[in-house]
């Protein structure tokens, strides 16, 4: 059964169910009137372990990029020892092409806050930090207002327990970032909340064991937490009826997903669809088709870190198998940027390389220096100054960076690696036509 009615966009008018022109901020009162905080009440009547089990059964996978099973992550927490335990809400959303979490913050922040309260109850966490990127000024205000409303309603900061029930009192604080993509990486985020530069930490230990201020911490994406609410309300089985099973024997991709389509389409925007929707269907049926009737040339799979879907991959299914099936890193944030036939793929690669050069935190030499080299090489190729040897050098450097080759602390470098390699490999002829042949100088010695 596909997504037949909006789940995360229940209160956010979104095609085909509603008109984006009708969108407005859902306040606490309106949220409650339309069934809001029912799931929290149900959760408070359940044992924490029951909620964790329900989320596990739903097979909800993280919506922040890595697709890690949410329920499983929660079980990594140690038993409560009386000390503080944290939830860090990841609303950094700085991956180019990604703008789905913003929709929830703009219009239905209580859906996320309800998910936060349920998660804190389920995992016995007493403090939540809502980390929001610095550029989201307006969204920080709407979320802060919603948090204030939730405090007034006795959901947060209630010494008698959440909504006066149980033994747990939770605090929820907004923490604004200040313009650093790397704070989206979960441990970079923790450093930022501690007031330090957002340098990712070496793992292990993982945050669930030693996170914020050295205490157990769960880091979840905004959309993941928003999905927890309907799972509690409707049950795990209901959730598994949306989305799709794996076609290659891997773990399934269940549930609805917010996908933000941008680039050369007629109606760019966020749509709520089943995981597994073919990219072509997403573009044609939701995003209004290709702009100006042009032909499709390629698409960033889900944020630039994931790499590119090539000219023959327009029918790729947007689910968690995508990495293994279509030679990209993964589904990422599931926000594709679409390119038409007139797009210069060398320029695309150069743009993405500049992003990674600017955003590398500088801790690991392969990432910091590699990103500079890659950018310079791509500029050289774009300007027609490069030789074919530069193309090989480019691939060699890109391929050597990241956690997967084992040379860096965090996945930012893998993003650079995959973006550059997949673009060059899938549009090789375009790159080759821009470089001069390289001749090995041969000197003829006399004797």
């Amino acid at each position: 059964m596909p997504v037949t009615e909006p789940v995360l966009c229940h209160r956010i008018p979104t095609p085909p169910w509603g008109d984006p022109a009708d969108r407005h901020l859902v306040t606490y009162d309106e949220y409650v009137k339309s069934g809001g905080y029912q799931a929290l009440k149900m959760a408070l009547d359940m044992k924490p372990a029951e909620i964790v089990d329900a989320v596990k059964e739903s097979q909800l996978r993280g919506r922040g990029g890595a697709g890690f099973p949410c329920g499983l992550k929660w079980t990594f927490l140690p038993e409560p020892d009386g000390g503080r335990r944290y939830l860090a809400v990841n609303c950094d959303e700085a991956e180019p092409g990604t703008f789905k979490d913003r929709l929830l913050c703009d219009f239905d922040p209580h859906l996320v806050l309800e998910g936060i309260a349920i998660t804190c109850h389920a995992c016995r966490l007493d403090t939540a930090y809502f980390f929001i990127r610095g550029e989201y000024h307006h969204q920080a205000e709407t979320v802060q207002r919603a948090i204030d409303e939730a405090y007034e309603a006795g959901i947060f900061g209630n010494k008698k327990g959440i909504l006066g029930k149980g033994d747990l009192s939770i605090e929820c604080y907004l923490h604004r970032g200040a313009g650093a993509y790397i704070c989206g990486e979960e441990t970079g985020l923790l450093e930022a909340v501690e007031g330090k530069r957002g340098w990712p930490r070496v793992k292990p230990p993982f945050p669930a064991v030693s996170g914020l201020f050295g205490r157990p911490t769960i880091v979840n994406n905004v959309e993941t937490l928003a999905a927890v609410t309907p799972i509690v309300l409707n049950g795990a089985e209901w959730f598994t009826k949306m989305g799709c099973d794996s076609s290659i024997g891997g773990p399934p991709s269940y549930g609805p997903k917010l996908m933000g389509v941008s680039g050369h389409v007629n109606k760019p925007g966020v749509y709520e669809v089943d995981l597994g929707i073919p990219l072509r269907k997403l573009v044609d049926d939701f995003a209004g088709g290709m702009r100006g009737g042009k032909a499709y040339k390629g698409a960033i799979a889900g944020g630039v870190s994931m790499g590119i879907l090539g000219p023959d991959q327009f029918d790729a299914e947007m689910d968690f198998d995508i990495g293994r099936k279509y030679d990209v890193m993964g589904l990422g944030t599931a926000c594709p940027t679409i390119f038409d036939e007139d797009t210069d793929m060398v320029a695309v690669a150069r743009n993405i390389a500049r992003f990674f050069k600017n955003e590398s935190c500088g801790q690991c030499t392969p990432c910091r220096e590699g990103a500079q080299w890659i950018y310079k090489l791509l500029c050289r190729i774009e300007s027609g100054e490069a030789t074919s040897k530069d193309l090989d050098l480019l691939l060699e450097i890109a391929g050597s960076m990241g956690i997967m080759p084992g040379t860096t602390i965090c996945g930012l470098a893998d993003g650079n690696n995959w973006a550059v390699r997949t673009i060059v490999n899938k549009y090789r002829s375009e790159f080759e036509s821009r470089v001069k042949p390289y001749f090995v100088p041969v000197t003829m010695g006399a004797g």
């Binding site: 703008f99 550029e135 993509y181 007031g195 933000g260 941008s262 760019p268 630039v304």
Partner: protein, 175 residues
């Protein structure tokens, strides 16, 4: 570029008699912000946001005052300030115009917007006009790719920019 180091310990810092952190602010931070965090340094970013907002930059003297309030080293404050793009050690213009240059905006024509601004304001990205009115920034994805090309003007986002809409927007800004 977060990892570029700002001036070293040999810098003499300009001082003024009036503190940047007023007693009222300190009281507010002690009562409301610092207790939110297990260690006082957690309150650093919220405080820096306030100072950046009020003064258009983070003066070195303010860093020293913040360090005293949070009982950390001034170097720790500078470390954090120098990492994040939104904090600056030099004053920015009255209006900060940040044009997105990431992928969705580039393929939807951000270059026209940026070039127009360079001509109009007669500055390059990351410079401020002589009259201190405008700072031009080339920023990375603003999370508004459906409205590409887009820009932030003092935190307010403007989508689907054209040269005309941009001119109308900038010309309407109060003095």
């Amino acid at each position: 570029m977060a990892w570029i180091v700002k001036p070293s310990a040999t810098t003499t810092i300009p001082r003024r008699d009036k503190p940047y952190l007023t007693d009222k602010m300190k009281k507010h931070y002690r009562a409301e912000i610092i207790p939110r965090y297990e260690r006082p340094q957690g309150a650093l970013m919220p405080i820096l946001h306030d100072v950046q907002h009020d003064h258009g930059h983070i003066p070195y003297q303010a860093m020293v005052e913040i360090a005293q309030l949070l009982e950390i080293h001034p170097a720790d404050v500078l470390d954090t300030v120098s990492f994040y793009e939104e904090y600056t050690t030099e004053p920015v213009g009255k209006y900060v115009v940040g044009v997105c240059q990431s992928i969705a905006c580039e393929v939807c024509g951000h270059q026209t917007i940026l070039d127009h601004l360079r001509r109009k304001l007669e500055i390059e990205p990351h410079e401020t006009t002589k009259d201190g009115r405008f700072t031009l920034l080339a920023m990375e994805c603003l999370g508004a790719c459906e409205g590409a090309p887009c820009a932030l003007v003092n935190g307010d986002r403007h989508d689907n920019l054209t040269i005309e809409s941009l001119d109308a927007l900038l010309d309407a800004l109060p003095d």
